[in-house]
């Protein structure tokens, strides 16, 4: 009897919601369900795993970065090429986030509010960057925009350089982070349906008012979450960018590429110093992500 009561208490009636966020709420374990020893073993295993896979490597990175002292670290971080790489990483990230946010919103709107032939096919197409290896994506861009590529002559004639240049890096970053915003928005917009928007339109509201007062409040947390995932992925992108950039130091090197070059030159301190910038950025994104998840309830 008592057990049943406890179980009921632990099921939160408010926790009807979407996806992963409600899982945390629904599956609050019953208090006396299993023996404590199982719990401690599981905690130990998880902690050990995190320690080996995450904490130790991060500590090693930081120790190595500071291995030659604070001055050397500072010098490596403020190195001209490192700063340039950082700037390019930020440029590519911001571009990818902007483009994919706009695109993701339009695509999610289109696919959730209109019914047409090929709707499903389009949704699948948008997911391609998730399933394709980034290296292949980079190669495809070279084949399309490179000198020997499909559009090579046209681009050459108009003096536009994409491959082995900054536009290529940006393009590749956009490509690999393409689906994130859409993927977050689509289920939310799909679940909302058209009725509220139709109701507002019938009362004479214009398209912008409808978006601002009805659609946007509904999607804002999902949108922000998508933007954060997109940012994280864009900053860390290696494969596609590596193929298309040509590794031109100070020109087309992003931070991850720069780290690899430094490491290959046995310049360990500098490599780890540059990595630490990425680690800090990632930590910021992680914090933002947790805030958003928490706000989203």
């Amino acid at each position: 009897m008592k057990k049943e009561e406890d179980l009921e208490k632990n099921i939160n009636p408010d926790a009807v919601g979407d996806g992963i966020h409600s899982i945390q709420k629904v599956i609050e374990p019953p208090k006396h369900a299993s023996r404590p020893i199982v719990k401690y073993i599981l905690i130990a295993v998880s902690a050990l795993f995190l320690l080996v896979m995450l904490v130790i490597p991060l500590i090693v990175a930081l120790v190595n970065a500071l291995g030659d002292g604070w001055a050397a670290y500072k010098e490596a971080v403020l190195d001209e090429y490192t700063l340039k790489a950082l700037a390019l990483t930020l440029l590519a990230t911001v571009s990818a986030v902007l483009v994919n946010t706009v695109f993701g919103m339009f695509a999610a709107y289109l696919l959730s509010k209109f019914y047409f032939r090929g709707r499903q096919a389009l949704a699948t197409l948008i997911d391609i960057p998730f399933s394709i290896s980034p290296v292949i994506a980079g190669l495809v861009f070279i084949l399309t925009f490179g000198n020997i590529g499909w559009m090579g002559d046209f681009l050459k004639a108009h003096d536009i350089k994409i491959v082995f240049a900054v536009p290529g890096v940006i393009l590749a970053t956009i490509f690999v982070t393409f689906p994130f915003v859409f993927r977050e928005l689509f289920p939310v917009m799909n679940a909302q349906g058209n009725d509220e928007e139709e109701a507002a339109a019938l009362m004479g509201a214009g398209g912008f008012t409808i978006f601002r007062r009805i659609t946007f409040p509904h999607i804002k947390w999902a949108l922000l979450y998508g933007v954060i995932l997109c940012t994280a992925r864009a900053m860390g992108e290696f494969g596609a960018v590596s193929v298309i950039s040509g590794h031109l130091r100070g020109k087309t090197n992003t931070l991850p590429l720069h780290v690899e070059i430094l490491y290959n030159e046995f310049n360990t301190t500098a490599a780890f110093a540059a990595s630490s910038i990425l680690v800090i950025l990632a930590a910021l994104v992680l914090i933002a992500r947790n805030i958003v998840e928490w706000k989203r309830k």
């Binding site: 019938l202 009362m203 007062r213 009805i214 409040p217």
Partner: protein, 249 residues
């Protein structure tokens, strides 16, 4: 006639949802669109509201052909099947929305919202959000929201469908009374004949996209004109219903 449908045809991807639909509703009347599921009731309502366009035929409101007029210019209020309340707005903001869009003055909006909250007996609930309301309360908010801009015509799609049977009876008497008090011409969709017979001045019976019969509840029950009507209407239940009403009176 305040609303007139004249030989309306409507096809969705090769499926004909309305076949030569014609009927009229008089000013101040409450009409019921009654018919089995999939018979095209919602389609008719959406065409009157301007949410869908008929392929053929004319829609007249107050004597004017409105086929080319956007829904927002037709002077209608619409209550959706699931109410479609704006879930990120309070009850008061929901009711105020239509007036805000029309750029009415702040003071005017405020007093109108208060008036309507009073009408639906929810004076103290204006600050709540839709998910904090019961089904019946939501229904009343949807009704108030539709009435806020003073529409000449009120359209309701299955206004009681989402409400359990016990409360439904109360609510439809309430709605009947409200509509009478406001004096707005109204059309509501239902697939429950008892509901239609009990509250409507006029019943429009639909089947397979066609209008089978138009008339008062008595006319439809006592002299059904097609086999479908005869089969669909349970005359005994109707007589019992009328009997109860006579006793009450």
């Amino acid at each position: 006639m305040y609303v007139e449908m004249k030989h309306i045809n409507k096809t969705f991807d090769g499926f004909q949802a309305s076949r030569d639909v014609s009927f009229g509703v008089e000013k101040g009347h409450l009409a019921a669109l009654l018919g089995p599921s999939g018979s095209g009731k919602t389609t008719i309502l959406r065409m009157i509201a301007g949410l869908d366009r008929p392929d053929e035929g004319d829609i007249l409101i107050d004597g004017k052909r409105v086929n080319d007029l956007p829904g927002s210019k037709r002077g209608i209020g619409f209550v959706f099947q699931n109410y479609a309340l704006f879930r990120y707005m309070t009850v008061a903001d929901n009711i105020a929305f239509g007036l805000e869009v029309q750029k009415k003055r702040k003071g005017e909006i405020k007093s109108r919202v208060e008036e309507l909250l009073e009408l639906i007996s929810m004076k103290d609930l204006g600050k709540r959000f839709p998910h904090q309301l019961s089904g019946g309360q939501r229904q009343r908010v949807a009704f108030a929201r539709a009435l806020a801009p003073n529409p000449q015509l009120l359209l309701l799609d299955e206004p009681f469908a989402a409400i359990d049977a016990k409360v439904r009876r109360e609510l439809r008497t309430w709605l009947r009374e409200m509509i009478g008090r406001v004096g707005v011409t109204s059309i509501f969709v239902t697939h429950d004949q008892e509901e239609a017979m009990e509250v409507a001045d006029q019943v429009i019976l639909t089947n397979l996209g066609r209008v089978e019969q138009v008339g008062t509840p008595e006319e439809i029950c006592l002299s059904p004109q097609t086999d479908f009507v005869r089969e669909f209407i349970d005359a005994k239940r109707f007589e019992a219903l009328m009997g109860i009403e006579k006793e009450e009176a």
